[in-house]
Amino acid sequence: MGQKLTIEPITRVEGHGKVTIHLDDENNVVQSRLHIVEFRGFERFVQGRPYWEAPVLVQRLCGICPVSHHLAAAKAMDAIVGVEPEGLTPTGEKMRRLMHYGQIFQSHALHFFTWSVPICYLASMPVPNKGM
Protein backbone atom coordinates (compact mmCIF):
# COMPACT_ATOMS: atom_id res chain seq x y z
CA MET A 1 0.00 0.00 0.00
CA GLY A 2 1.35 3.39 -0.99
CA GLN A 3 1.01 6.82 0.48
CA LYS A 4 -2.12 8.41 1.86
CA LEU A 5 -2.83 12.14 1.51
CA THR A 6 -5.17 13.75 4.02
CA ILE A 7 -6.96 17.06 3.63
CA GLU A 8 -8.40 18.02 6.98
CA PRO A 9 -10.50 19.91 7.81
CA ILE A 10 -12.38 20.83 4.66
CA THR A 11 -13.33 24.40 5.37
CA ARG A 12 -15.69 25.34 2.56
CA VAL A 13 -18.55 23.16 3.72
CA GLU A 14 -20.40 22.98 7.00
CA GLY A 15 -20.28 19.51 8.51
CA HIS A 16 -16.61 19.01 9.23
CA GLY A 17 -15.38 16.89 6.37
CA LYS A 18 -12.10 15.17 5.67
CA VAL A 19 -10.73 13.87 2.37
CA THR A 20 -8.25 11.03 2.11
CA ILE A 21 -6.56 10.20 -1.18
CA HIS A 22 -5.00 6.75 -1.29
CA LEU A 23 -2.05 6.23 -3.66
CA ASP A 24 -0.40 3.05 -4.85
CA ASP A 25 3.37 2.45 -5.00
CA GLU A 26 3.62 4.31 -8.33
CA ASN A 27 1.74 7.27 -6.79
CA ASN A 28 -1.38 6.67 -8.85
CA VAL A 29 -4.64 7.47 -7.12
CA VAL A 30 -6.33 4.25 -6.03
CA GLN A 31 -9.20 5.81 -4.14
CA SER A 32 -10.40 9.24 -3.04
CA ARG A 33 -12.72 9.29 -0.08
CA LEU A 34 -14.82 11.99 1.58
CA HIS A 35 -15.41 11.37 5.27
CA ILE A 36 -18.21 13.08 7.14
CA VAL A 37 -16.63 13.10 10.57
CA GLU A 38 -19.35 14.63 12.69
CA PHE A 39 -22.31 12.86 14.26
CA ARG A 40 -24.65 14.82 16.49
CA GLY A 41 -27.80 12.71 16.74
CA PHE A 42 -30.48 15.24 15.72
CA GLU A 43 -32.56 12.38 14.25
CA ARG A 44 -33.12 11.03 17.73
CA PHE A 45 -33.04 13.97 20.09
CA VAL A 46 -35.66 16.08 18.33
CA GLN A 47 -38.14 13.28 19.05
CA GLY A 48 -40.45 13.87 21.98
CA ARG A 49 -39.97 17.63 21.97
CA PRO A 50 -42.83 20.10 21.40
CA TYR A 51 -43.45 20.20 17.67
CA TRP A 52 -43.19 23.97 17.39
CA GLU A 53 -39.59 23.71 18.57
CA ALA A 54 -38.56 21.62 15.57
CA PRO A 55 -38.02 24.43 13.02
CA VAL A 56 -35.84 26.33 15.50
CA LEU A 57 -33.94 23.23 16.65
CA VAL A 58 -33.02 22.05 13.16
CA GLN A 59 -31.73 25.50 12.18
CA ARG A 60 -28.73 24.48 14.27
CA LEU A 61 -27.93 21.64 11.87
CA CYS A 62 -26.09 24.17 9.78
CA GLY A 63 -25.26 27.78 10.54
CA ILE A 64 -24.59 28.43 6.87
CA CYS A 65 -28.01 27.34 5.53
CA PRO A 66 -30.32 27.51 8.58
CA VAL A 67 -33.30 28.76 6.57
CA SER A 68 -33.39 25.65 4.39
CA HIS A 69 -33.59 23.43 7.46
CA HIS A 70 -36.15 25.74 9.06
CA LEU A 71 -38.41 25.50 6.01
CA ALA A 72 -37.99 21.73 5.73
CA ALA A 73 -39.06 21.35 9.35
CA ALA A 74 -41.94 23.77 8.79
CA LYS A 75 -43.16 21.51 5.96
CA ALA A 76 -42.86 18.46 8.17
CA MET A 77 -44.86 20.22 10.88
CA ASP A 78 -47.49 21.12 8.29
CA ALA A 79 -47.86 17.41 7.56
CA ILE A 80 -48.12 16.59 11.25
CA VAL A 81 -50.91 19.08 11.92
CA GLY A 82 -52.67 18.08 8.68
CA VAL A 83 -52.08 21.15 6.50
CA GLU A 84 -51.75 20.30 2.81
CA PRO A 85 -49.30 22.46 0.79
CA GLU A 86 -52.28 24.14 -0.92
CA GLY A 87 -53.81 24.74 2.50
CA LEU A 88 -51.12 27.31 3.36
CA THR A 89 -52.29 30.91 3.39
CA PRO A 90 -50.97 32.98 0.45
CA THR A 91 -49.10 35.16 2.96
CA GLY A 92 -47.52 32.12 4.58
CA GLU A 93 -46.40 30.73 1.26
CA LYS A 94 -44.98 34.09 0.16
CA MET A 95 -43.12 34.55 3.42
CA ARG A 96 -41.53 31.12 3.07
CA ARG A 97 -40.53 31.81 -0.52
CA LEU A 98 -39.11 35.21 0.45
CA MET A 99 -37.08 33.61 3.24
CA HIS A 100 -35.76 30.99 0.88
CA TYR A 101 -34.79 33.51 -1.81
CA GLY A 102 -33.10 35.55 0.91
CA GLN A 103 -31.15 32.47 1.98
CA ILE A 104 -30.01 31.77 -1.59
CA PHE A 105 -28.94 35.39 -2.04
CA GLN A 106 -27.12 35.46 1.30
CA SER A 107 -25.49 32.11 0.64
CA HIS A 108 -24.11 33.15 -2.74
CA ALA A 109 -22.84 36.47 -1.39
CA LEU A 110 -21.26 34.70 1.56
CA HIS A 111 -19.53 32.16 -0.61
CA PHE A 112 -18.21 34.75 -3.01
CA PHE A 113 -17.17 37.55 -0.67
CA THR A 114 -15.93 35.69 2.38
CA TRP A 115 -14.91 32.23 1.17
CA SER A 116 -13.69 32.45 -2.41
CA VAL A 117 -12.39 36.00 -2.77
CA PRO A 118 -10.14 36.10 0.32
CA ILE A 119 -8.39 32.91 -0.79
CA CYS A 120 -7.62 34.49 -4.18
CA TYR A 121 -7.07 38.04 -2.97
CA LEU A 122 -5.13 37.68 0.26
CA ALA A 123 -2.24 36.02 -1.48
CA SER A 124 0.15 37.07 1.29
CA MET A 125 -1.42 34.48 3.56
CA PRO A 126 0.49 31.23 3.98
CA VAL A 127 -0.44 28.72 1.32
CA PRO A 128 -2.88 26.28 2.90
CA ASN A 129 -1.01 23.09 2.11
CA LYS A 130 0.08 22.11 5.58
CA GLY A 131 -2.56 19.47 6.01
CA MET A 132 -1.68 17.73 2.78
Binding site: K18, H35, V37, G41, E43, R60, G63, I64, T114, K130
Partner: protein, 183 residues
Protein backbone atom coordinates in the same frame (compact mmCIF):
# COMPACT_ATOMS: atom_id res chain seq x y z
CA UNK B 1 2.16 47.82 16.37
CA UNK B 2 2.33 44.08 15.93
CA UNK B 3 -0.94 42.57 14.89
CA UNK B 4 -2.71 40.24 17.28
CA UNK B 5 -2.69 36.67 16.03
CA UNK B 6 -6.11 35.01 16.07
CA UNK B 7 -7.05 31.39 15.45
CA UNK B 8 -10.58 30.00 15.20
CA UNK B 9 -12.13 26.57 14.89
CA UNK B 10 -15.47 24.84 14.85
CA UNK B 11 -15.76 21.67 16.93
CA UNK B 12 -19.22 20.11 17.45
CA UNK B 13 -20.93 23.26 16.21
CA UNK B 14 -22.77 24.31 13.09
CA UNK B 15 -20.50 27.12 11.85
CA UNK B 16 -23.26 29.54 12.86
CA UNK B 17 -20.91 31.37 15.23
CA UNK B 18 -18.38 31.80 12.44
CA UNK B 19 -21.19 33.12 10.25
CA UNK B 20 -22.18 35.53 13.00
CA UNK B 21 -18.55 36.62 13.20
CA UNK B 22 -18.61 37.36 9.45
CA UNK B 23 -21.80 39.38 10.04
CA UNK B 24 -19.58 42.21 11.27
CA UNK B 25 -19.76 43.03 7.52
CA UNK B 26 -17.63 46.01 6.51
CA UNK B 27 -15.91 46.04 9.90
CA UNK B 28 -13.98 43.05 8.58
CA UNK B 29 -11.73 45.68 6.96
CA UNK B 30 -11.03 47.18 10.42
CA UNK B 31 -10.50 43.66 11.68
CA UNK B 32 -7.79 42.97 9.12
CA UNK B 33 -5.98 46.09 10.43
CA UNK B 34 -6.16 44.77 13.99
CA UNK B 35 -5.50 41.07 13.69
CA UNK B 36 -3.85 38.43 11.58
CA UNK B 37 -5.46 35.03 11.30
CA UNK B 38 -3.52 31.85 11.82
CA UNK B 39 -5.24 28.44 11.87
CA UNK B 40 -8.85 29.11 10.92
CA UNK B 41 -11.50 27.95 8.47
CA UNK B 42 -11.83 31.59 7.41
CA UNK B 43 -8.48 31.51 5.62
CA UNK B 44 -8.19 27.70 5.33
CA UNK B 45 -4.92 27.47 7.27
CA UNK B 46 -5.11 23.93 8.57
CA UNK B 47 -2.25 23.75 11.09
CA UNK B 48 -0.80 26.25 13.58
CA UNK B 49 2.29 27.90 12.17
CA UNK B 50 3.07 29.87 15.35
CA UNK B 51 1.85 30.76 18.85
CA UNK B 52 -1.39 32.74 18.78
CA UNK B 53 -2.75 35.42 21.08
CA UNK B 54 -6.45 34.62 20.89
CA UNK B 55 -8.24 31.38 20.05
CA UNK B 56 -11.96 31.44 19.35
CA UNK B 57 -13.68 28.08 19.87
CA UNK B 58 -17.07 27.30 18.42
CA UNK B 59 -18.80 24.08 19.44
CA UNK B 60 -18.37 21.56 22.24
CA UNK B 61 -16.64 18.19 22.06
CA UNK B 62 -18.61 15.23 20.66
CA UNK B 63 -15.71 13.08 19.44
CA UNK B 64 -12.04 12.44 20.16
CA UNK B 65 -10.94 14.61 17.24
CA UNK B 66 -12.72 17.63 18.82
CA UNK B 67 -10.83 16.97 22.07
CA UNK B 68 -7.53 16.73 20.18
CA UNK B 69 -8.15 20.00 18.30
CA UNK B 70 -9.26 21.78 21.48
CA UNK B 71 -6.12 20.69 23.39
CA UNK B 72 -4.04 21.80 20.42
CA UNK B 73 -5.72 25.22 20.60
CA UNK B 74 -5.04 25.47 24.34
CA UNK B 75 -1.39 24.69 23.69
CA UNK B 76 -1.10 27.32 20.95
CA UNK B 77 -3.32 30.18 22.22
CA UNK B 78 -2.60 32.52 25.12
CA UNK B 79 -6.28 33.42 25.51
CA UNK B 80 -8.97 30.88 24.70
CA UNK B 81 -12.58 32.01 24.23
CA UNK B 82 -15.67 29.79 24.14
CA UNK B 83 -17.92 31.38 21.52
CA UNK B 84 -21.58 30.41 21.63
CA UNK B 85 -23.72 28.01 23.61
CA UNK B 86 -22.24 24.80 22.17
CA UNK B 87 -18.75 25.68 23.34
CA UNK B 88 -20.03 27.02 26.67
CA UNK B 89 -22.37 24.20 27.68
CA UNK B 90 -22.59 21.70 24.83
CA UNK B 91 -25.53 23.57 23.32
CA UNK B 92 -28.12 21.83 21.21
CA UNK B 93 -25.98 18.72 20.48
CA UNK B 94 -25.90 18.14 24.25
CA UNK B 95 -29.60 17.26 24.04
CA UNK B 96 -28.33 13.78 23.19
CA UNK B 97 -26.66 13.51 26.58
CA UNK B 98 -29.91 12.21 28.07
CA UNK B 99 -30.16 9.50 25.39
CA UNK B 100 -27.84 6.49 24.96
CA UNK B 101 -25.52 7.06 21.98
CA UNK B 102 -26.54 3.67 20.54
CA UNK B 103 -30.15 4.91 20.24
CA UNK B 104 -29.04 8.02 18.37
CA UNK B 105 -26.89 5.95 15.99
CA UNK B 106 -29.70 3.43 15.43
CA UNK B 107 -32.17 6.18 14.60
CA UNK B 108 -29.77 7.85 12.17
CA UNK B 109 -28.58 4.72 10.35
CA UNK B 110 -31.15 1.94 10.89
CA UNK B 111 -34.64 3.10 11.79
CA UNK B 112 -35.09 6.70 10.61
CA UNK B 113 -37.64 7.19 7.81
CA UNK B 114 -34.94 7.97 5.23
CA UNK B 115 -32.87 4.84 6.01
CA UNK B 116 -35.39 2.23 7.20
CA UNK B 117 -35.38 -0.72 4.81
CA UNK B 118 -32.29 0.52 2.97
CA UNK B 119 -29.70 -0.82 5.41
CA UNK B 120 -30.53 -4.50 5.65
CA UNK B 121 -27.11 -5.49 6.95
CA UNK B 122 -27.31 -2.89 9.69
CA UNK B 123 -24.06 -1.20 8.69
CA UNK B 124 -22.89 1.61 10.98
CA UNK B 125 -20.08 4.02 10.12
CA UNK B 126 -16.96 2.08 11.11
CA UNK B 127 -14.16 3.45 8.96
CA UNK B 128 -10.88 3.76 10.90
CA UNK B 129 -10.52 7.29 9.49
CA UNK B 130 -13.58 8.42 11.44
CA UNK B 131 -13.15 9.93 14.90
CA UNK B 132 -14.49 8.01 17.89
CA UNK B 133 -17.78 9.47 19.10
CA UNK B 134 -17.84 10.29 22.82
CA UNK B 135 -20.58 9.03 25.13
CA UNK B 136 -21.71 12.59 25.77
CA UNK B 137 -21.17 16.07 24.36
CA UNK B 138 -18.80 18.00 26.61
CA UNK B 139 -18.47 21.77 26.98
CA UNK B 140 -14.99 23.08 26.25
CA UNK B 141 -14.21 24.14 29.82
CA UNK B 142 -14.54 20.52 30.97
CA UNK B 143 -11.67 19.58 28.66
CA UNK B 144 -9.27 22.55 28.94
CA UNK B 145 -9.07 25.87 30.76
CA UNK B 146 -11.20 28.52 29.03
CA UNK B 147 -10.55 32.21 29.70
CA UNK B 148 -13.72 33.87 28.40
CA UNK B 149 -17.25 32.87 27.40
CA UNK B 150 -19.36 34.71 24.83
CA UNK B 151 -23.02 33.65 25.14
CA UNK B 152 -25.62 33.38 22.40
CA UNK B 153 -26.79 30.98 19.75
CA UNK B 154 -25.09 32.49 17.91
CA UNK B 155 -23.54 35.41 19.83
CA UNK B 156 -24.46 38.49 17.83
CA UNK B 157 -21.80 39.91 15.55
CA UNK B 158 -21.41 43.06 17.66
CA UNK B 159 -20.75 41.00 20.77
CA UNK B 160 -17.96 39.03 19.07
CA UNK B 161 -16.56 42.24 17.59
CA UNK B 162 -16.55 44.25 20.83
CA UNK B 163 -15.11 41.34 22.80
CA UNK B 164 -12.37 40.81 20.24
CA UNK B 165 -11.47 44.51 20.14
CA UNK B 166 -11.31 44.61 23.96
CA UNK B 167 -9.06 41.55 24.04
CA UNK B 168 -6.82 42.92 21.30
CA UNK B 169 -6.43 46.23 23.11
CA UNK B 170 -5.99 44.55 26.48
CA UNK B 171 -9.09 46.22 27.93
CA UNK B 172 -11.32 44.51 30.48
CA UNK B 173 -14.28 42.70 28.92
CA UNK B 174 -17.08 45.04 30.02
CA UNK B 175 -19.86 44.19 27.60
CA UNK B 176 -23.11 46.15 27.78
CA UNK B 177 -26.11 44.17 29.00
CA UNK B 178 -27.97 44.82 25.74
CA UNK B 179 -25.36 42.81 23.88
CA UNK B 180 -25.59 39.68 25.98
CA UNK B 181 -29.32 39.40 26.59
CA UNK B 182 -31.45 37.44 24.19
CA UNK B 183 -35.14 38.32 24.22
Amino acid sequence: MNKTIVATTSLAGCFGCHMSFLDIDEKILDLIELVEFNKSPINDIKEFTRMCDIGLIEGGCCNNENVHVLRNFRAHCKILVSVGECAIMGGLPALRNAIPLSECMAEAYLHGPSVAGNNENGIMPNDPELPVILDKVYPCHEIVRIDYHLPGCPPRADLIWQALVALVQGDPLKLPYELIKFD
